[in-house]
């Protein structure tokens, strides 16, 4: 037990170290973008008609602390980042934490829900499909799952919106109804969120399910063919007991392992879906920050938060894996 606590602590420290290294990479990338925040903002002001001089830029630099050495600035940035403080946006000149506000958590919530949805469907269906020798069932599942993989998310989103608008006269956009958008959190607001959020969750979960289904099926087929399953049935173990205690249980490890990767993939798909459904989530903001305005402060903050989410999820799956698989547990608890 004590060694398990030690294992968790070690993993937590390692996750933290990963995050710090990532932050260094992210921060370096932010620096690599031509020009800095001071130039960018003043250039922006210039286009608005106000004249600026080199002295103005230097003054702005000093104000933002950009004249300090790289390492010092990184230390300040990372220290603040761990407290959820990312400074001001280069262009918008508002506090990034305020700007992102709930958006990041809502996005993360939607992605995690899509992930949960995907695996809640894929695990049982994949296991049963792999165990069954019913050709019709298998082919149907194969078709649905390839269809899910092949159908782009944005097309699915457009289709659903089209159908709902034409036939039901309802526009399924945004995450909140008007009256709740800026209201404080309440039960009614949560219900309203649910009414809107199911669509992005469904659309994101759609291809994630198709993907996860393929993974689970392949892993299961692999396990079912293994000798220990034959050996167990030679001992008289049969039916559900055989299926769930033997191949299914042993296929879980690699499935858990793929969770972090899948979350990342879902998050990558979010901006496009968000754009179509007119949701202003963190993903859309990332595209805005990167593509339109070179707002490296904002982009860095979003990338850092996303990485932190994935590192955290990986930390949990690592621990879960050790709980599930004695081989992993014993190898780390020596």
């Amino acid at each position: 037990m004590l060694s398990f606590v030690r294992f968790i602590l070690t993993r937590a420290v390692m996750a933290l170290a990963t995050l710090i290294i990532v932050s260094l990479v992210v921060f370096s990338l932010m620096e690599l973008v031509p020009g800095d925040c001071a130039e960018r903002y003043l250039a922006f002001k210039n286009t608005q008609g106000s004249g600026i001089s080199v002295a103005d830029i230097e003054a702005e630099r000093a104000r933002l602390g950009l004249d300090k050495p790289f390492f010092t600035r990184w230390t300040v940035w990372i220290t603040n980042a761990f407290q959820g403080e990312f400074g001001d946006s280069c262009i918008l000149r508002v506090n990034i934490a305020d700007l992102l506000g709930q958006k990041f958590w809502l996005s993360l919530g939607i992605c995690l829900s899509a992930l949960v949805l995907a695996y809640a469907i894929a695990v049982p269906v994949g296991i049963i499909a792999a165990a069954s020798n019913n050709a019709t069932l298998n082919n149907t599942l194969k078709f649905i799952s390839y269809f899910g993989l092949a159908m782009p998310n944005f097309l699915l989103a457009l289709l659903i919106m089209l159908i709902s608008t034409v036939w039901f006269g309802e526009t399924l956009t945004g995450l909140f109804s008007k009256e709740y958008r800026d209201a404080d959190w309440s039960w009614a607001k949560l219900v309203d969120l649910m009414k809107h959020a199911w669509l992005p969750i469904f659309i994101l979960g759609w291809s994630a399910t198709a993907f996860a289904l393929q993974t689970v099926r392949a892993l299961m087929s692999d396990e079912i063919g293994k000798l220990y399953v034959t050996a167990a049935s030679a001992r008289g173990v049969s039916g559900r007991k055989l299926l769930w205690n033997y191949p299914a249980r042993h296929a879980l490890g690699p499935i858990v392992n793929s969770l972090g990767f899948d979350l990342n993939r879902i998050f990558n798909e979010l901006p496009i879906v968000a754009l179509i459904l007119v949701m202003t989530d963190a993903g859309a903001l990332l595209i805005e920050a990167l593509a339109r305005s070179n707002d490296q402060q904002l982009a860095g903050a979003i990338i850092f938060l996303l990485t932190a989410s994935i590192v955290t999820l990986n930390f949990f799956t690592d621990v879960l894996l050790a709980v599930l698989d004695p081989r992993v547990r014993k190898s780390i608890l020596r």
Binding site: Y228, T230, A231, A234, S238, Y246, H250, D325
Partner: protein, 332 residues
């Protein structure tokens, strides 16, 4: 001694995309209580498939001909193995009266379940007993097969044991339900030679102690010579020679058995060249016509070899071989 299991005209085909593939053709043999039979053949000869048929354990695409019959004699009466369909009915031949140990002890234990848990599960499936009682029997059994610290091993996983230890644990698990027949599918192939000898000795002891029959599947005639009472040689799904182990090894009757034996290195004359059986075992998809061995045989006696499947010829009461070099119609 009374009969333990009778296999009559066992013919087994697998349904595949390429059509029906014959894996075992018209094989008959029987085993008495307490008798040890070696089932010898190259990979692909159908020996494992034959053994699995005894437990009705072959893949779902296996098709048995209606003439095939396997009868197991238990204290509770006769069991027609191939007519069993429900998992609950099959328990008697799966881990009950028949147990099987496999070639890869590592792969035959579930990696994420303790050895003890798997043993207790089997005991509870086959006997109405409490967990505590099942554990007691399991630990006793682990101890009996020579595993030190049996209590500790009970809670360990297969990957924590050495190769020899794992196979001992596998034997302990197989014997815990006191089966009447043990099928050992190349149980020593994956082990070091010194460990092999230990495991073989252990199995010999256990046969006497539990008075059970063993079908020992192997390609190693040396192992057969040490352990078995009688031996059956298979080639491409056909039983080509059968007889008491000493007789078959001293005076092999079938050209294939002769070839197998002369392929072994001779300890008394290490300089004599090895004479392997030429060629490879044909794919079951391209089963030769006539005698299945004629493509590799050095003693072809005429067209009959290529056209007619030879019948078993009784050389004496217990020794028979299926080959055209023996006269037809004179078998006893």
């Amino acid at each position: 001694m009374s009969s333990l299991i009778d296999v009559k005209n066992l013919t087994l085909k697998f349904k595949t995309d390429e059509g029906l593939i014959t894996a075992v053709n018209n094989v008959s043999f029987s085993l008495k209580k307490g008798e040890v039979m070696g089932l010898v053949g190259e990979s692909g000869s159908g020996k494992s498939v034959t053994a699995k048929a005894l437990m009705h354990l072959n893949a779902r695409n296996a098709v048995y001909t209606p003439e095939s019959k396997i009868t197991l004699h238990t204290e509770a009466g006769e069991v027609d193995v191939l007519s069993l369909t429900k998992p609950s009915e099959m328990q008697v031949v799966r881990g009950g009266a028949i147990s099987m140990i496999f070639q890869e002890p590592m792969a035959s234990f579930a990696p994420a379940i303790t050895i003890g848990k798997q043993m207790v599960e089997q005991l509870q499936l086959h006997g109405n007993m409490s967990k505590a009682k099942a554990k007691e029997i399991s630990v006793e059994m682990l101890d009996r097969v020579g595993i030190s610290d049996a209590h500790k091993r009970f809670d360990q996983y297969a990957f924590e044991l050495s190769g020899g230890m794992r196979q001992r644990a596998m034997i302990a698990m197989a014997l815990s339900t006191k089966p009447k027949l043990l099928i050992a599918d190349e149980p020593t192939t994956a082990l070091d030679v010194t460990i092999q000898a230990q495991v073989i000795d252990l199995m010999k002891d256990l046969v006497n102690e539990f008075h059970m029959g063993i079908i020992f599947i192997t390609h190693d005639l040396g192992v057969v010579a040490q352990t078995a009472d009688k031996v059956s040689v298979m080639y491409l799904g056909e039983l080509i020679e059968e007889g008491p182990v000493r007789e078959v090894i001293r005076t092999p009757a079938h050209p294939y058995t002769q070839g197998l034996l002369s392929a072994l290195p001779k300890l008394d004359d290490l300089d004599s060249p090895l004479t392997p059986v030429p060629g490879d075992i044909p794919s079951p998809l391209e089963r030769p016509s006539g005698c299945v061995f004629h493509t590799r045989c050095s003693k072809i006696v005429g067209d009959a070899c290529k056209t007619t499947l030879p019948q078993a010829y009784q050389l004496d009461e217990s020794h028979s071989a299926a080959c055209h070099i023996y006269p037809k119609g004179e078998s006893a």
